[in-house]
Amino acid sequence: MNSKKQKLVVVGNGMAGARVVEEILRRAPERFDIVMFGAEPYGNYNRILLSNVLNGSQNATDIFMNSLAWYRDNGIRLHAGVKAILIDRERGVVVGVPLQKDAMAYSVDAAAEWGVPEIEEPYDNVIIATGSRPFVPPMEGFGGPGTFVFRTIDDCARIADYARASRRAAVIGGGLLGLEAARGLMTHGVEVTVLEAAPQLMGAQLDSEAGDILRKTIESMGIKVLCNTITTRIVRPNGRITDLEFRDGATLDTDMVVVSAGIRPITETAEASGLKVNRAIVCDDQMRTSDPAIFALGECVEHCGQLYGLVDPIWEQAEVLADVITSTRPDAAYRGSKLGTKLKVMGVELASMGETRPAGPDDEVVVYREPVGGIYKKLIVRNNRIAGAILLGDIEAADTLLQMFRAGVKVPARRADLLFGTPTGVGLLQVSDLPDNAQICNCNGVSKRQVVEAIETGGCQSVSRVGAATKAGTGCGSCKTLVAQLLESCLGEVGFDPGEHYYVPGIALEKSQLVAEIKNRGLKSVSDVFRELAGGNEDAASKVGLASLLKTLWPGEYEDERDARFINDRVHANIQKDGTFSVVPRIYGGVTTPDELMRIAQVAVKYQVRMVKLTGGQRIDLLGIKKENLPGVWKELGMPSGHAYTKAFRTCKSCVGTDFCRYGVGDSIAMSQKIERRFQGVESPHKMKLATAGCPRNCSEAYVKDLGAVAIEGGQWEIYVGGAAGGSVRKGDLLTTVNTDDEVLLYMGRFMQYYREHGKYLERSYGFVERLGIENLRKILVEDSLGICEQLDREIQKAVDAYHDPWKEADLPDHPAQFSGPELAYVLDVAENNG
């Protein structure tokens, strides 16, 4: 063992204790020798799911978060079933006593195992995470057979056992936990009555009206609810419970009692050790107790007078504590949590945050009721900010409201938008309003905090730098605008590093400079470019972009070096996660024939295609094909490549148009087939997906395509450019309206060529159109303000003429190894002496 490591003792092995250890290991895996005390004889489990264990929808083993193996693998010594009773601060040791097997882990005087010596663990730091114990309101007769609390896995087993021999059960406590206990008991076939001292259910989260709605819903499920009811005595004439007596003199027949009436922090170990304890263990913003070597978190903690009983605050405390104790961010501070939660109580969805009732006459209360549907929504707005909200029955708005509530942002003037969304669907939130832990990049799971840290402490001043440091924006890229917003709010502007404007990362030239150099020096292959412009340094990440550029600059003359192609373009198919490929044959305008379908089916059977999938572009995708089978598949399909793997014209989909549709005003199928036959295989900075629609109903989604033609009354076509409906959604801009099919082909081709010449590598048409502006594009491409239209038309014609079907390489591969699978080079296991 490394004696230089500091010794960290964690008292408590519940959700808080295990979480803070995980956070510490994530930051400094080698820093501490970690020892944990847990009074329960298990690893760590998710207490939130206990009600599922009670109702039988999950096994106890399903809710473990960290198995005993996790402790072993991380070098943590766990004293399971051992209760820490004292932190001896003078000697610097934590003292624990092993508990008897059937001890109540959380009871104050849990019985110690006789004759087993105390355990002592020396420490440099201690973290107390002892959590809380159930609160039992004063009443006569609690304890003994038939009475239970609901807090641990063992409690669940005891309650379920007893319920099997019972007919009726009473649950004392109509809060969240009480209702969960009632739900669990129902599944054991007992009649359940919930007893609540207050006038309503879930007083902590709901106002009285919402409480009444919830009560009605619950009663309709067969659970009896008695509010304003305080139990004074459990009657047990012959040892078995027969009934309960209430303060008002009424009684209730029952066989068992489960108390779930709230929790109280467990503080006796802290008190015995001389730490400051009020209602709970007092901690500062760094989660330190009154002894700077001792930290605490979770339900046993009091911070700024507040106690917390939900998981979100505990997660926040765990992060701060881990930042501080590992010195990752020594000045990290916990500033308290704004409480909000989403729950499902007996199948009823509800969300609650902040205050449930207005505090004064100036508070604005917005309420929506739908009594029959059991829907209730209430907002309390103070100073234009959300002070509280309740959503019952329909909680779709909860996530946005919670983020706005936690961030304390101003709400829109139309309050209804908060409850029902905006009419335009525009987001209510700005990225600067989001909480630090909000996820910015959904592809790589990067939080706002990580992005902000990269900007503020990592010195990243541009979107690409942030991407390099955090990976944000390097997946689908649709969060780049959020990253840019954060740069703007942190630094006042979005900076750029010159590298961001290089056409490829490996050559320090912008596109126009690079093009000029390539043309002046007559560089026609990627290796020529590296030799002449990069001192011979090949950069793997730059090859594909250069190849694309050279191909556009030297049509017909480009020296095609296959190693500069991405694998998809080497084998004319799309690589999948398992290394197999997908094959999409061209189906012009989405119109196929029985004969084609039969060939596709035969190929799929013969090559054991794992999935046959209809694509969004109205084609058929054959998935799971081995590289070495690609030539065979293509030959037997007898159809050309659909180019579904490359940066090029992909497809032009269509609605059924005038042949069958009773609304069609233009022959969209014929148009789309003309487009597809003309532009198939034309390469571009990024993929181009097209559509034609036979009328403005837009069934084929032509408005949101890179290029779309929409037929309108009078035999005309509208041409839209720059639409998108992928990671970004954008309606295309109307470029022009024309009278004939040939004109559609003309303007589409002109736009494509201009995009091919001026689009940045990997810039989709929607980015390109926004960057140049539709007015500007219309001047250039329709009014011919630059006098280049004729030139553009000529160049696109060359690209069209250069078309050849890449799948013809099935018969004439570029290299013998082009479609070869793994080569058997050396056989190891040769049997020598079979005899």
Binding site: G506, S527, F530, G536, N537, E538, D539, A540, A541, S542, K543, V544, E561, R562, D563, A564, F566, I567, R570, I575, K577, D578, G579, D814, H815, P816, A817, Q818, S820, G821, P822, E823, L824, A825, Y826, V827, L828, D829, V830, A831, E832, N833
Partner: protein, 112 residues
């Protein structure tokens, strides 16, 4: 009884021209998938074929400047050292050379 690998004699993997210029190719050596790379400047590299990230086939990746980029998620590796640009991602690399047009792989690192 199975034959064990001769740890001294290099493994003749085959003709160098079997690998397209500037590309990689996957070979199965004993029980291992090994990617061999033929860089345009004449250098040869050998490394485990499967990317440590999500098992992408590195032999299908882009090669250049002594690095390979995985075709699945663009994780990048130095083929001299095996070191990846992502933290904690490293490839096994093998010693490989060309002799008279043949590719010879040193066997000492290969599992047997």
């Amino acid at each position: 009884m199975a034959e064990t690998l001769d740890k001294v004699r290099p493994i003749d993997v085959g003709e160098i021209t079997a690998i397209p210029m500037g590309q990689g190719r996957c070979y199965i050596v004993g029980t291992e998938e090994i990617a061999l790379f033929r860089q345009r400047d004449g250098r040869l590299f050998a490394a485990q074929n499967r990317c440590p990230h999500r098992s992408g086939p590195l032999a299908e990746g882009l090669l250049g400047g002594n690095h390979v980029i995985c075709p699945l998620h663009a994780h990048k590796f130095n083929l001299d050292t095996g070191k990846g640009t992502e933290p904690n991602e490293c490839l096994r690399v093998y010693t490989v050379r060309e002799v008279e047009g043949k590719i010879l792989l040193s066997p000492e690192d290969v599992d047997s």
